[in-house]
């Protein structure tokens, strides 16, 4: 009797966790460092002098520690998934999971850090609410695209 791999869970979980880590790196590298729109605590301790900047840099570092850990955990989960015979190896499912993870990161981080705790805003200024809402919307859109890709990948595995 022959059976076929049907357990997508480990691959989806690996991609999602890795997507969270990589999405966090996009936020940290692009928005914190390259564009310098905000820092981790810039709404509570505005980086207006070197002391405040270093304070924010320390917390940006903590944020990057967590994104790095998520990426490593995602890689370990992917490695384990790849060694299992019951996991269908689908690039579409994996890419969808990465995009889902990135979207989840944007949405959850946006809700908790921007809206509830007010630690920072995407682009502080008169239009900061619009930027925050746009960030949340990007999270939802990415998550929906990710789910669609995962469904497409799983459907392709059917006869």
């Amino acid at each position: 009797m022959r059976t076929y791999p049907t357990n997508s869970g480990p691959l989806i979980a690996a991609g999602t966790v890795m997507g969270v880590g990589l999405g966090g790196f996009v936020d940290g590298i692009l928005l914190h460092q390259v564009l310098q729109w905000h820092n981790m605590l810039s709404s509570r301790v505005p980086p207006v002098d070197l002391v405040a900047m270093k304070f924010n840099m320390m917390w940006d570092g903590m944020f990057h520690v967590l994104t790095w850990l998520m990426t490593v955990v995602g890689l370990a989960l992917l490695w384990r998934a790849g060694r299992r015979d019951d996991v269908p190896w689908s690039g579409t499912v994996f890419v969808g999971s990465l995009v889902l993870g990135w979207g989840l990161f944007n949405f959850v981080e946006g809700v908790i850090d921007h809206q509830i705790l007010g630690l920072h805003h995407v682009h502080p200024g008169p239009d900061q609410l619009a930027w925050d809402v746009g960030f949340l919307a990007s999270g939802l859109v990415f998550a929906l695209i990710g789910v669609a890709l995962i469904r497409t990948g799983r459907r392709a595995a059917r006869p």
Partner: protein
């Protein structure tokens, strides 16, 4: 800017701004709020990923498959002699 950076590199890590920054970090009155803010999104998403791990294991409609995916031998099969 370059002079400032060179001066910083020469005098730090023991220059007054850095000592002040270290003190500010050490005396952070809202340390736990900040820890919560950094950690919480990752904790929430880790729980979601755990749920996806289990949801993806549900058989759903994928009992049968086709030739383009990797076949495996059923665990119930007796081992080869």
């Amino acid at each position: 800017m370059l002079v400032f950076a060179a001066n910083l590199a020469t005098n730090c890590p023991d220059c007054p701004p850095v000592r002040a920054a270290r003190a500010a970090v050490a005396d952070d009155p809202e340390l736990w709020l900040h820890v919560l803010g950094v950690l919480a999104p990752f904790c929430v998403i880790a729980v979601v990923a755990g749920g996806l791990y289990r949801l993806g294991a549900a058989p759903g409609k994928e009992h049968r498959s086709c030739a383009h995916i990797r076949p495996t031998v059923a665990r119930s099969s007796p081992p080869e002699p």
